[in-house]
Amino acid sequence: MSQVAEASTPAAGDGTTYDGLRLRGVTKSFGAFTAVRDLDLDIPRGSFFALLGPSGCGKTTTLRMVAGLEAPTSGTITLAGQDITYAKPYRRPVNTVFQNYALFPHLDIHENVAFGLKRRKVSGVDEKVREMLALVELESQARKRPMQLSGGQQQRVALARALINEPEVLLLDEPLGALDLKLRRGMQIELKRIQTEVGLTFVHVTHDQEEAMTMADTVAVMNAGVIEQMGAPEELYENPHTTFVANFLGQSNLIEGVVKSRSGDVVTVDMHGIDVSIPAARTHADGDKGWIGIRPEKVLIGDPGEELDAPGNSIPGGVVSDVSFVGVSTQYLVRMPWGQELQVFQQNTGHRRLYRTGEPVELSWRPEYAFLLDFSQDASAGAEQGDD
């Protein structure tokens, strides 16, 4: 399921019917502020797609344009070949699970779930509602009011109320945001199960990277109105294309470097006097300077001169400046000769000894784990937002 839309995308505007959800050149401005900028997006039918980004990045606006609650300033939205750009929300086969559920407080659970079917004058409503409530395991609560249910139950009612309409696309706007951590983990698995079971297209908007990666087949990372990178979760994590993605999804060490040579499939970079090599497929910088990126858990730590199980890039001269023992791993901050502090996460396998603050160490990593990013990007982009 990791095929990113681009691969299966026919050239834009060639008239071929695309059976998924397609956004072309969508822009949305509120006065002088542009929330979404010239967005192209293809979401294949039946996929679980996550739109991930910090608050204010334009992800909710995108969702609301698909739902028909906002009209784009320019661009088109098509769904299964139909242009729905300006269709009224009640005339498009799209349903939404709202952030705070937006359950009708004056109607009971059964009536809430039946609402959409009744508006479309579908027959056999009661039977369908019962089946749907069974799917979300709320049969016994049918005659209660939303206020009488717990947060998790309300969340499932909101899901049932949208799902029962069998929409072409189901939109989820931070659906788990109001739940506490434990419930959220449970609901993530539940949502994934239901999506697999009903096979509908889910578009999930969230600022929680873990949530996006757990559930979605494809994640699009959005920042400041544009999509920074799109792909399968592991691909985004292992091979980020921008500093924002590198920092927003997990954590990264970004070190300044100068490209010395590009030969075949290896790029050699001078990192403060040490040559490090990076696979060409993992370099996303054109200039002769770049940010060398390496995830903290990919960095090995050892005594000076020690042969580490990572032939390739070995960086001597570090001094441990901080140690945090967190159980499954130990997190080190190591001050390098050029003054920068690098993060190193070491698994507590029991085979390695713990280092203390002030000890001299040597770092090393396998070349295939490193990546090179464009130097014009801000090395701290997305760092704070990724922390929550």
Binding site: A67, G68, L69, K88, P89, Y90, R91, V94, N95, T96, F98, Q99, N100, A102, L103, F104, P105, H106, F115, G116, R119, R120, K144, R145, M147, Q148, R161, A162, N165
Partner: protein, 265 residues
């Protein structure tokens, strides 16, 4: 002593509450009074006569009925106009919004005597001085109820997020269906509250009415007139009934609300 100190505020508060009920007790008591003579306003002997002969005092029931009619008419018009205006203020954008807000606020802040005399000045200037009556009373009542309706309905509407309406639209409800199935049912308690408030304001108004009523007599005006001559005991029966009816309505609504809240736990 310690108990007293801890509960001092509560005790004082309840004493104030008791104080507000003293006149009501007297009214209820007097409604069962058989006075010694027409001019002695003092409890004499228990009787049900006042309740069984409610309309005996000349003109009282006519005035009462007139007040009820005026109350209903003023409530109907002011509730409709006020609800529409509240919707406009909360949901629609238009020029002169703050001026409109001021226009709605001022009638509630002005003393009744000023409101009443302004209206009278207008009616006099318009050559209407000889025709004061039901129409002029209604005009006045709708005017001063209107602001209260707008404020009540507006606060209900403002407390309601429009996500619910978006959810309805998302679930295939047309704008009309959204209004009648979601918006209106949710705002209705506010509208009902505004209507009850309007009715009691209109029914009880004396100062503005007295200036603009001409020779027409409403119930408060009847009581006013009777106060100079000697008040018939039946007036207390009406007072008791007003109290009982409104308490029933309000306590009923409160118990209903309570039952729903209790179901949550």
């Amino acid at each position: 002593m310690r108990w007293l100190r801890e509960h001092l505020v509560l005790i004082l508060g309840m004493l104030v509450l008791v104080y507000t009920f003293i006149p009501i007790l007297v009214v209820v008591l007097m409604s069962f009074n058989d006075p010694a003579s027409r001019n002695v306003y003092q409890f004499n002997e228990f009787t049900l006569y006042n309740w069984t002969h409610l309309c005996e005092p000349e003109g009282m029931c006519v005035a009462l009925w007139r007040s009820v009619q005026i109350g209903f008419a003023a409530t109907l018009v002011s509730t409709i106009l006020g609800t529409l205006a509240a919707f406009a203020l909360v949901r629609w954008d238009f020029a002169l919004r703050s001026t409109t807000n001021l226009l709605i606020f001022l009638p509630m802040a002005a003393p009744e005597i000023v409101l009443g005399s302004s209206l009278l000045a207008l009616f006099v200037a318009a050559g209407f001085a000889g025709n004061l009556g039901m129409i002029t009373i209604l005009i006045a009542h709708i005017m001063f109820c209107l602001s209260f309706v707008v404020v009540t309905v507006r606060s209900r509407l403002a407390g309601m997020s429009d996500t619910l309406e978006q959810a309805a639209a998302d679930l295939y409800a047309t704008p009309r269906q959204t209004f009648w199935r979601v918006t209106f049912p949710l705002v209705f308690p506010g509208i009902l509250g505004a209507a009850l408030l309007s009715f009691s304001l209109s029914f009880d108004d004396f100062i503005i009415t007295n200036l603009n009523a001409g020779t027409t007599t409403t119930f408060p005006m009847y009581v006013w007139g009777a106060a100079q001559r000697g008040v018939p005991m039946q007036v207390n029966v009406v007072g008791t009934m007003m109290f009982a009816i409104s308490v029933l309505i309000v306590v009923g609504a409160e118990l209903n609300h309570r039952r729903r809240v209790r179901a949550l736990v």
